[in-house]
């Protein structure tokens, strides 16, 4: 098995970095070797943030950044206006987007498989973050378990339960609901 590389796109305050850490800890629980890291730039609430996770069987020594991810996770679809979220994505790579309706996802590229889940609505329904600034990362990670067949939903939920700074049960519920509701767009 070759190393699996995942890139997360979000905005400051949406939890993209925590999402990359949740994925790493979930994969670790399943016996994988992992590493997760953010791109440190100017973290400002609302400003674009990028984070990364590597998953492999053998210990991960490569410390340079990720340029050709296997999976891309987009915590806020409005980012796609200004940021090229598909940059370097491997052919047949998968894109998980927080978006209410798979059909309205514009600019889909046939080389990749798209999955959507309305993580924003799910997060708000579980009272995660505020209505104008919902924290969508745990919901999106539930979607990730469905869309990208590396980590199981059980390991994701366990990581969330252990690591969610606040409202662990609500975060777990949001992740489970997202897992159920995630579907392939354009399928």
């Amino acid at each position: 098995m070759r190393v699996i590389e995942v890139r997360f796109h979000g905005r400051g305050g949406q939890g993209a970095v925590v999402a990359s850490e949740v994925l790493a800890s979930a994969a670790f629980k399943m016996g994988f070797e992992v590493s997760s890291f953010p791109f440190f730039g100017v973290e400002r609430r609302g400003a674009p943030v990028t984070a990364f996770t590597r998953i492999d069987h053998k210990p991960i020594r490569n410390k340079s950044s990720i340029y050709e991810p296997d999976f891309v996770v987009v915590l806020d679809s409005s980012l796609m206006r200004g940021v090229d979220v598909l940059e370097g994505l491997k052919t047949a790579g998968r894109v998980l987007v927080n978006h209410p309706d798979g059909k309205k996802l514009d600019g889909m590229d046939a080389r990749f498989r798209y999955f959507v889940v309305d993580a924003t609505a799910i997060a708000i329904s579980h009272g995660l973050g505020s209505p104008t600034a919902p924290i969508v990362n745990t919901a999106i990670m539930g979607g990730f378990a469905r869309a990208c067949n590396i980590v199981t939903i059980e390991s994701i939920l366990q990581s969330i339960r252990e690591e969610a700074p606040v409202k662990p049960e609500e975060n777990v519920a949001a992740a489970r609901q997202a897992y159920d509701q995630t579907q392939e767009a354009g399928a």
Binding site: V42, R44, R45, G46, S130, T132
Partner: protein
């Protein structure tokens, strides 16, 4: 008056700076430069405002700006003024513009030196009450009772137990010709005091409260309202110290402190006794301020 502005309309900042939505420090800079105009040179140390202009080659100010090391603002404005003087360049306002940590903590020594040397400059401290650029760690200017990432409240109720450093009293002790507090909720008063400071020779100090939505755990839309209530609750009184004498410039209604804290998650852990002890210390500070004013000291 329809369409007439109450402060100068000319802007000295470009949009596109990278402050958080609702950032008070943007307003502090905006009003400061409206008061000072374009014959101004700024010196800014490490702080949110060192990042605000954006990555090179982006610059969001219409006046020249020198970035400096964290503790060096006081020294930098001294160097700038000396160079302008020896080169015979006149009628330029030299301004140090720094955060609270960069002023009351790491930069205090250099500022004190500059003040003691009667350096002809204005030092503006935009006070968001913690080290915000590095992610909300407590500073000497963080108020008693506040949560920050280094005064966590989890179980041990570890909020900040030291009171906010009274930098205005410290500057008064330096016997400088002028110091004033200003609020982003009162731009007219803000610009008026800046213009007054501009025309005074020697070392002048401006203390601007600078609300910080992420750092104070509040919604960005309350960025101005919370500054307004800081004045009305006497948490942040508006006054001047002119040649050593205190002059209060806005009495404020003396609303209960809860009117101020209710917006802010950084105070949400406080018990009613703790809120009460804040109220008591605010009332005492307010009495002392009025006493100072009455006794002309």
């Amino acid at each position: 008056m329809m369409g007439k502005t109450t402060i100068p309309e000319e802007e000295f900042v470009f949009p596109g700076s990278t402050g958080c939505p609702g950032c008070g420090a943007n307003l502090v800079m905006r009003y400061l430069l409206k008061g000072l105009g374009d014959r101004t040179i700024l010196s800014i140390p490490a702080c949110c405002w060192a990042v605000m202009p954006g990555y090179w080659p982006s610059n969001c100010l219409k006046v020249p700006l020198l970035y400096t090391a964290f503790e060096a603002t006081g020294a930098a404005i001294s160097g700038l003024r000396a160079a302008l003087d020896i080169k015979g360049i006149q009628d330029v306002t030299v301004v140090g513009f720094a955060g609270d940590g960069g002023t009351v903590d790491i930069g205090l020594q250099a500022m004190s030196g500059a003040a003691e040397r009667r350096t002809d400059a204005i030092y503006v401290m935009y006070d968001n009450e913690a080290y915000m650029n590095t992610g909300i760690q407590r500073s000497g200017s963080t108020p008693w009772g506040a949560w920050t990432t280094t005064t966590p409240v989890g179980n041990s109720h570890g909020f900040k137990h030291e009171s906010k450093k009274d930098i205005m009293a410290i500057m008064q002790a330096h016997r400088i010709p002028y110091a004033a507090t200003v609020s982003v909720a009162h731009p007219e008063d803000f610009v008026k005091k800046v213009r007054k400071a501009k025309d005074i020779k020697g070392f002048r100090f401006i203390h601007a409260l600078s609300p910080c939505p992420p750092g104070w755990r509040m919604s960005p839309m309350h960025g101005v309202e919370v500054a307004r209530l800081a004045v009305e609750t006497h948490m942040f009184p508006l006054y001047e110290i002119e040649d050593g004498r205190v002059v209060v410039t806005r009495k404020g209604k003396g609303l209960p402190i809860t009117e101020y804290t209710k917006f802010q998650g950084r105070f949400s852990h406080l018990t009613s006794q703790e809120i009460e002890s804040i109220q008591e210390s605010i009332d005492e500070n307010w009495r002392n301020l009025l006493a100072k004013e009455a006794s002309g000291t």
